[in-house]
Amino acid sequence: MKRFSLSRKDRRNLIRIIIALVLFFAIFITDKCITLASVFSGPWAWVFPFCLYLVVYLIIGYDVLWRAIRNICHGQVFDENFLMCIATLGAFALAIYRGVTGLEIEGFDEACAVLLFYQVGEWFQSFATGRSRKSIAKLMDIRPDYANVLRNGEAGRVDPSEVEVGELILINPGEKVPLDGVVEKGASTLDTKALTGESLPREVAEGSEVISGSVNLTSQLLVRVTKKFYDSTVSKILELVESASEQKSKAENFITKFAKYYTPIVVGVAVLLAVVPGLITSDWSTWIYRALSFLVVSCPCALVISIPLSFFAGIGAASRYGILIKGSNYLEKFNSANTFVFDKTGTLTKGNFAVAKISPAAREEEVLRLAAIAEHDSSHPIAKSITAKYQGTPEGGYTLTNLAGAGIRAEKDGDVILCGNEKLMRENNIAYVPEKGVGTVVYVAKNGEFVGSLLITDEVKPETKEVIGALNKMGAKTVMLTGDNEAIASSVAKEIGLTGYKAGLLPQNKVEEVEKMLAAQGKRDVLCFVGDGINDAPVLMRSDVGIAMGGVGSDAAIEASDIVLMKDDLRGLPLAKRIARKTMTIVMENIIFSIVVKVAILILSAVGIANMWLAVFGDVGVAVIAILNAMRVNSKY
């Protein structure tokens, strides 16, 4: 039952509503059975039912009445409380008029019910928004409350914002990491689920970076703080999520504009509807009744609340999967995204090089052994990939000479190992067998004789192909931008099924390339750029929707992008797309449904088919249905 815990205000109102409902139905049913108006006879017979209903009316509506009076003093004419009061009091007045003039006594129940159901709707709105606020607040659970800072050799609890860069903090198992830092002592596992949506815990040891907002699971860590609280990941993320609802989407702007004109127009028509036909037919009570029904439907609340609620739920749902969306407008835009531009290294590929092929296959071991001897001392990514592949400790004792732009020469006891590119082989007149594969090729020769070659490529991420396929299937264009040469680019593009690629680009060319694409696209097209946030901030900002991957720990990426995939996993893209689509579908459903129902009820009550009961459905019922619909956004994906 804990899930349904209510705020104090909601609980109080719920009790009030239940009491009023019980009383109302008790009176209503007795009225239908024995007709309360006939209990007493005579011209004052209407007073008895009137008093009973008035009690219920006051129980349920005293606050609405009070607010209406107060707001009218402030000059707020189109206040919903005021309009509701006019409608219900008007209905009471009509019923009294009928009673006084000796017509059949009816209408008290209606007046009372309208306000009662209005309150039910209000309560439900408050409940629903409170709940979705809570689901976002769950994400806010990442906010650390304190830090155990070591000062003068003693640990003391302080607010995270009081800790300076360079200070040491202790993080016990079960505690949240309060600030970004580097592990000074200890090893543990961290739960980063709340940050990245990644359920696999992360291992950290001395020297590893820890990110604020993750939870320490197994053992105590001593951490040196590297960022002030306001600069740390957790603050950045909280700030981002909290301000997400400030970036308003087109749909929301449309609704606020609509609401601005809707109420005055409906009220205006209601006045005309009461006066004009009233004057003509002098059947005042019928037309005033219809006008009052108008007032009941005049509040645009269903729309005004359900649209931002849908976006809010969409953004919340995405954040549960480690996808941060900076505003409803980006969610809206992302839904119609039809061009995805990818940075290659680090986005489509892992960004780390690996030995893909060694030839000839028969001498694989020897080639790798010799290459490792030559390359083990270098910090170049290519060299690293070779030593990583070799795994063991290469034979030592060689004198290594770096031949700039060609490779490495290793010498020991008259043995000479040459390890490098084609140029190195040619210069030394070695008859090498060219490797035709795409990537960087390292040739190995020993004592003037060719031994073999290694093909090194940047590994494509395992999920890349599937994701590109999914995006293509959604009808999007997928384009890769890369600094690699044409041959590598085209082979990679073919392998993973991209619809296009641009090769041989320098970092600054990427912005130009994206600008060209932006200029060429139509008004309704939306271009997304997906990068790892490292040195592509200008492109992220320039594109319609900038998406940064692996955002945890990279401030530049979080700042420059519109959507951040906290987990370094491309599958976040189709997932975000599904969330965006569902959100937008529900938004459109709610807009159309609410407007159609309201207009229909307005027309029906103008011609006298709909009564006030239906009108109250037009107000409250529509709001409740729209809110329930909006809550569907926050489901599983």
């Binding site: 707001n71 402030h74 606020r133 301000s243 609802s245 400030e246 308003k248 606020t256 609401a259 609340i305």
Partner: protein, 72 residues
């Protein structure tokens, strides 16, 4: 200068929209956003007159939604 304030008891979405419109009309306010869902008011205004402008903001909000409190 941009500042964010927490709001309390902002009960209706339409009021939030009304408050936003009313605040936007105050002189010196560059941009404003009232979020009903996160119960936040974020406002960007001239630095020198910020306090004066905020006084006006509070007054305007009182008019639209008397129950709503701006935590300053």
């Amino acid at each position: 200068m941009k500042k964010v304030y927490q709001l309390e008891d902002l009960d209706c979405a339409n009021c939030a929209a009304k408050m936003e419109r009313a605040i936007a009309k105050i002189e010196g306010v560059e941009s404003v956003s009232v979020s009903f869902l996160s119960q936040r008011l974020s406002i960007e205004a001239e630095e020198e007159q910020f306090e004066e402008i905020m006084d006006k903001v509070v007054k305007v909000c009182k008019k639209v939604e008397p129950d709503c409190i701006i935590h300053r």
